[in-house]
Amino acid sequence: MTDQRFDAASLHALREAVLAYATAAGMPERRAIDVMIAVHELAANAVRHGAGWGRLRMRITAGALYCQVTDAGPASLGSQDSDQIPAPARPWPFQRGHGLWLVRKAADRISVNSGPGRSEVTVVFTVPATP
């Protein structure tokens, strides 16, 4: 399990750490990049719309990689309902700039647990079984 703080200045380091962790977990390259993309977009959201900094916790449990991004800002997703996150079935609404659309597209599962003063999003990726 890993636990690291991030802010605007450390997003590059965060991306590299996520990529390394997902790769070490045995994920194929393209899937590891999906994890990096998803975590970056969540962290960027915390930096821009949340508290400006946050925490990333990653762990592998029962064949799945869990990445939990938390920040202490106002509910940066604007909702407690994961269904509010734009569905990837529609094209990316780039005019509104939703990075969360990309999170939904990249991850196998996403769960949101937000409220006033706290935002917590967990994205889950299946890890292939070791042969």
Partner: protein, 119 residues
């Protein structure tokens, strides 16, 4: 810290903007300013060489798409050239290959379409 380097060269086909390093929400403003500067002289086409770009997030790609929208209103468009695998993956996921031309390589004067196929 993400570092983005932007250069503009004069090519036979018009100005060629090159992005290298990484771009995310922290450098989106820098990218927006550079594109606005290029677009301010009224041209219709702009090629952006991204062969040196190692990462781009949705905030940065949004800036590129907004520039493309401006150019399309003028009857032209923005073209991306030479995306690295990580960036190509993000572009594909966002459907950018359906919105504008993405050349797989950066050689100029290619007559073929060479656009990125959905993968």
């Amino acid at each position: 810290m993400s570092r983005l380097e932007i250069t503009v060269d004069a090519a036979a086909s018009g100005p060629l903007m090159r992005l290298s390093g990484e771009t995310d929400l922290g450098t989106a403003g820098q990218l927006r300013d550079a594109l606005a500067s290029q677009l301010s002289v009224g041209q219709r086409h702009l090629t952006v060489d991204i062969s040196g770009l190692q990462f781009a997030d949705s905030a940065s790609i949004q800036v590129l798409l907004q520039a493309d929208r401006t150019l399309k209103k003028r009857g032209g468009g923005l073209e991306l050239a030479g995306p690295q695998p990580r960036v190509a993956q993000v572009l594909r996921m966002l459907g950018v290959d359906q919105m504008l031309t993405i050349r797989p390589d950066t050689s100029s004067g290619t007559g073929g379409d060479g656009s990125l196929r959905p993968g």
